[in-house]
Symmetry: D3
């Protein structure tokens, strides 16, 4: 089986137990997370071969990071080494009206300070069928866009499918910079993924009539936006997650896929959240899996949405759901009855 290659940053995630604020915690749960690594872990749980590419420093924390990826079935042999540090992010989990807070300490990480010479894309892609990256990686440093363009060109040359999750992060770059870079990179992309706001932030393109803060989503507007993106950039599949944030404890969750000139809207799930971080990444992974399996368009979006619904009932960033778990939910069993 050919591999799905993902490229980006992996960080330590440090989070107080339960709903404690940072100020109250003398103990952090440690996990490892990053937008593309999350995708690889989810794909490995779906039974696909997948490798995660990044640059990490040579130290004992990196060893734990590698062991964790290995534990979840991700190939770590394509990772390169060097630089000073592995990024860290602190997550304070919110509840009800109190939002979760993320404090990033990812600057100067090995991957963000890496250069074009660090990656031999022809070698990396030699047994690959798919390449996935996100807008976060593009934003990590000034030479990341070039590195990603190297990767995209190498992938294209080998006929590898390319997917990109726009994933705009306002603390990493400005909208202007994001739009300049992402509009360029999207030209290589076959499958484009985003949340309700990403197209606006990263591409400067807006759905009509949605107000995310107020929890109002306009499915028609997103269908039309997806079509425009598809046409403007020649992207084959465009998919959006549609989150309705009732509170930090309860969210609505759905998705829309535009492909072959038509839009497909998924069923909506009302999720009592365990951990919403990584929800978008697990949607991307579900989409990639469903497309590789050549599911029907409606099934593709239903699979991606069900997968990412389940992720948000699981602690930490990784979606540990199996294909069976996702299909059970897709088939309508969200009753949560005990499985014995």
């Amino acid at each position: 089986m050919k591999k799905v290659i993902t490229f980006g940053e992996i960080m330590l995630r440090l989070s107080p137990k339960g709903y404690l604020k940072l100020m109250q915690a003398d103990n952090f749960d440690v996990s490892y997370a990053g937008a593309e690594a999350n995708v690889s872990v989810s794909l490995a749980n779906f039974g696909l071969d997948t490798a995660f590419v990044t640059k990490l420093p040579k130290n004992d924390v990196t060893k734990v990071c590698l062991a964790t990826l290995r534990k979840y079935g991700v190939d770590v042999d394509k990772i390169v080494y060097g630089g000073d540090r592995i990024g860290v992010y602190y997550l304070e989990r919110g509840a009800s009206q109190r939002p979760s807070k993320v404090i990033y300490d990812r600057k100067y990480s090995s991957v963000s300070m890496s250069s074009r010479e660090d990656y031999d894309w022809d070698k990396i892609f030699e047994d690959a069928q798919w390449f996935h990256f996100t807008g976060i990686t593009a934003a990590l440093s000034d030479n990341m866009p070039e590195i990603l363009e190297d990767a995209c060109r190498a992938a294209k040359a080998k006929g590898i499918t390319i997917s990109c999750d726009l994933n705009y992060r306002k603390n990493l770059w400005s909208k202007e910079k994001a739009r300049e870079v992402m509009s360029h990179l999207v030209q290589y992309v076959d499958v484009l993924i985003g949340n309700e706001e990403d197209a606006a932030d990263s591409l400067g393109m807006y759905p009509a009539d949605s107000d995310v803060i107020a929890g109002k989503l306009n499915h028609e507007g997103y269908a039309s936006l997806a079509r425009q993106i598809s046409e403007k950039f020649g992207v084959k599949h465009v998919a959006f997650t549609l989150r309705t944030s009732y509170s930090a404890s309860d969210n609505g969750w759905a998705g829309i896929l535009y492909t072959g000139g038509k839009s497909y809207i998924s069923k909506n799930y009302n999720i009592h959240l365990v951990d919403r971080v990584g929800g978008g990444d697990s949607f991307g992974a579900g989409l990639i899996y469903a497309l590789i399996q050549q599911m029907e368009p409606q099934d593709v979006i239903e699979f991606a949405v069900a997968a990412s619904c389940l992720k948000q009932t699981i602690e930490y960033d990784f979606n540990l759901s199996t294909v069976d778990d996702v299909k059970r939910l897709m088939s309508g069993d969200g009753s949560g009855r005990v499985q014995r």
Copy 2:
């Protein structure tokens, strides 16, 4: 006060903290649980004298198990010793659309491999007023039906009331086997308890028009089913729990009692679940207590449902609610205001 005797298996329950999946946990919360032991613990909390009968191996884990039962006020003096092991079950708690999962490792347990000679029912019942067992115990091994029939005959001979919770477990036996065994044993039973599906699975008798997965329950159908069971097997009281599984986090919960030719339906509780495992057992305990107290039929079912509603807001399988706690909820105070 004469004792309520329960007979069955008690296991170690090993569960990751909070909503962690087994894969994420390097630490399990340990508790002790089993359908009939759960009933005994609940009855002890209600102030009744109760003894739990089982067979356990002679080792230090058994010592902890005995101490735990003693802690909660259950008489352990009738337990017999021998065999190889105490069963274990792993519980991964679900949330929202993600179901809880139970992995049983109960095969070859001392009680499941015990034989008729292990139990001296005349002695066991010498100070008893009530005998309770469940379909799980009947399913543990091929000689369990015989052992249970011994027990039922001895109980009958002493005029002891017999209650049985059908509790069908598909991983322990087939429906065919269950129906054969349970149809026979039910003939000894005065009080029959089940959930929405048990009558179908264990007796091959169905309510009309209910779809458990879709969360639709038909109270009329259950009333009629209870009447049929009562009439067919000569059971005096038939009671069902009626669970509406909205999700792994939120459930509706009610019950129905058929007795004296009439049906009594309880109020329905919408429960934000802490731990639903043991819910059915606490219903059985509530029913037994209310019947022993000779409450009015409507109060019997309200007490049983309120008790088991409270159980599902308590961690682990044991219902630690007192009679006062249950009566407060029965009387309408489910507001959860702080008691100071």
Copy 3:
């Protein structure tokens, strides 16, 4: 900046993790809490200078208590020392239909056994702008009313604003005693705070047509009650919290302020509770802050309610929200979207 002085008792709060009952816990989370100390901590988080006054024994537990207050920015230099003990309270957290339970072990605490000679109010108030106390403190012992009257007189003499939260506790005194004492003390008060039941319990004055247990609140009734209190006792601002207890997991939360002859009702929040203890205290702190900032009346009540809504999403008694956190919620963003 002149200080807000609060006076009362601070206790150790011992609570089992999560939703465990006391019976199930071999480990308690430790925090420090008390109605007035909670107000001081919240005010310090809002950036005000504040000192907490109490009497504590000289021992290592007191040292931890002082360090904790210092950590959260509260001035502890006005505390006096002596007596035998620091009070303790045990909190068993409820869920859904199961109420939380508080077991107090606060009798004989140093502050409850303190006398008028222990406090030099002129010195305590020398850099103060505001004095806050609650009905709990008044109830601690027979000489507390006198001590509080000393404090109120000294405050009045210095032109210091006085606020009082009625906070009736039935296990500390009878309604008769409370009404006698509080009716007297309220004459010194500029800002009176209470929950739905406090006016009835502490002052013998009732809103029309509310049934707290049944979750029905009558805003008109409370507006009229506030006006009556204001007029009867000459209190400038009267504010009530209005809690709708759907269950131990979900509450509605709003407030009403009567000032300048008019009533102002806040928006209502449906809170998925993390920890409701300290909710009323954080309302008081929000009110004090908003009044000191001379906000408009509607903003005053909105700020107080939003602040105390956030508190109930935070573990333990202290409200660790900042002014920015509160204003974001006031401005309508209760969506709980992740802040990165």
Copy 4:
């Protein structure tokens, strides 16, 4: 089998995990402990019937306390109820040169404020063979000496053996008061127990040439002291623990028994301490057990010392060792090889 009755106070013990200081802990391990309760638990583990007598308030903390005693096999049916509180003690565990610290909050406990009318000694002793108390109980309040004298007289009248552990606590009473009270009570005592300093503190009688702080113990001096006590008060058996405190982590541990006109010194154990609190109580329990079993004098002291050596390798105050465990160590196997 006739019961061993112990009478005294049981408290909550709150201790930070591991070697954390109180100041560093936001979480306390909870256990239950008290000099006489510790003796009862150890005796129950040795297979004796034993009941603990005390007075406790009616609340949920008491329920946990009772359940804990029941778990460890102690009869709680003779406990009386009333009063305000159950005492608490905070334990900060030391290490190496840093001593452990105990902060008591036991004043005003139900038992310390109990009166002679609370206890019906004839009833309490109706199925008893032995009565045990300590100097701590005598020190709890001014009416405790009378209560204890009531108990001793009732015991004597029934021919029950009486043991007393001197257990001087300087924060409960002065040496003068202790000597007055204990010299009187010791006249009823058959078996007197103490540590190196207790005879001096409680009876004003000194061994020659020992310097406890410097870790020097003079076995001859203790033999002579025991003989003097035996002769002066007519005590049949006098036993001392002999601790050499090298540090908070490592102690020497031995004992001496004077009986029948002769002294018996045990072997010495060098213990790498897990938890030394309760060491003396477990020595008392070992002594009582060995005397009831009518072991030879040398075996009596060896059993008591080995038992209490094992206790100090076990967390919390209770000695959970069995007779087999103790005998294995007595027989010379202190190698700590894994038992499989």
Copy 5:
């Protein structure tokens, strides 16, 4: 690099935190362990390719087990599936004079009930250089000796080196049975490993003048014993661990290797134990690594002893030390100075 294949059982290890007894714990640390799996993990940490062979049931606990092995770099692709259960063992950690206790619940495990048909040794060994098993595996069931003989024959046919750790377990079989089976299997073995008692228990051959319980070891006796074994069974390398059990907290640790007609004794380490379980397995892994690296005989035994010394300072059964860690200790740096 050719693989080291190990074959045996892997179990869940459940252990209370710190020094708690089973009776005191409501929470178990979970790890995975087994004599041969421990060897594989240690070898993977030394950088060798290694695969662990066993039979496991198809369930979610097995998934965690596989993920754990993968995390530590062990190839799990040769594992076969089926049967009912994965074994469990409970470990209560001792301290000082209190021994650690192991309670096994491994009966009926999938591997112990496996048959010759389950394993295709030619396939398993196709990329192998070494095969390792222990006497524990031989003792698991009556058909294990045959299975192991199949494996040994297949290994011999491929010129694969065979090592065996005698590892006698008295609760699995009698000495008579062990001697019969092991004497036969040892004929295939190139490298034989044991502790001080194994040769006596498993082969009926004794060193002169050692008394393990009393902590006296006779190096000469072991040298002579190793020579006899080597000569009798034609084993090329015979190695013993020499443990001096001062207590459950402190042990002496050394080893002896007989090879090429000469004995080599290692330096002795006095270990302040963190976790001694798995010490012998890590010695075996060290020996295998050093022999594969073709170290000099003295270095072989020094490496094995230093490796297993480090293991006993690490929690759980796996030795996570690297070759660098071991060589640093071999070179004399056991000072424990902080590595920054």
Copy 6:
């Protein structure tokens, strides 16, 4: 009371519980630490006024850091804000022959990237009596030596005493660089502190005949070295800690002070280590306190050594001992007897 000002870096310390390796932990204990911050916390515990100066980024992690310092009584008002990050260090605790490991992730921290303009030393020192820094701070970046020289000049101009702990860190700079910088800065220093190796590493000056790895220390050599340093650089007091590293669990600990032309050697403590990190810093704090108190030279070194002995029995980097605690140990009571 005039303040002791310390200047340097404070980091998050992340450490697995107990003796777990990083690879085994999914949870880190969080504390805050840094050579100079550790000194300030210890001095605050001794009752001195002290302020810690550093540069920190503006974020929620910094808020926790400030709250922690405030909790322990350190003035944080002189801290400046800006830059990107707060450093992190990972600590894996060793035991016995296994060394502790520190992995630093401190590069690019706000303080290390700060510049001369960030600090207004005249303002910082306006109420100061003492200035303390370490060689670690000097090594943080290329402009740190200049910043420190600014500070030293400003301090000298105000007649403030200056102390410096050489604290060589090989991963921060080379010995050559360290010697160049430190030889220059030491000219401003009144009190010079170091461990056995610092003088060699930082100043290129060696004691005769010591072998630190082998645990051999030559007191004469250190006395002579201290004299040479004092004479060469005009330092008034020179003090060394003398650690004998028996293992990661047990260390010898002593100190030597050269002042007024004479050497004073302290008593030696054999410490069973709880946490040796921060030992040197607590020695520095003890020395500063004793010198400020104008103790006799022998008392100065005894106080510093006893203080730092106690630190090593306390978790985390901060010495939480009081002056009473230290004096008790100085006076000879290291018996670790329980303080009640």
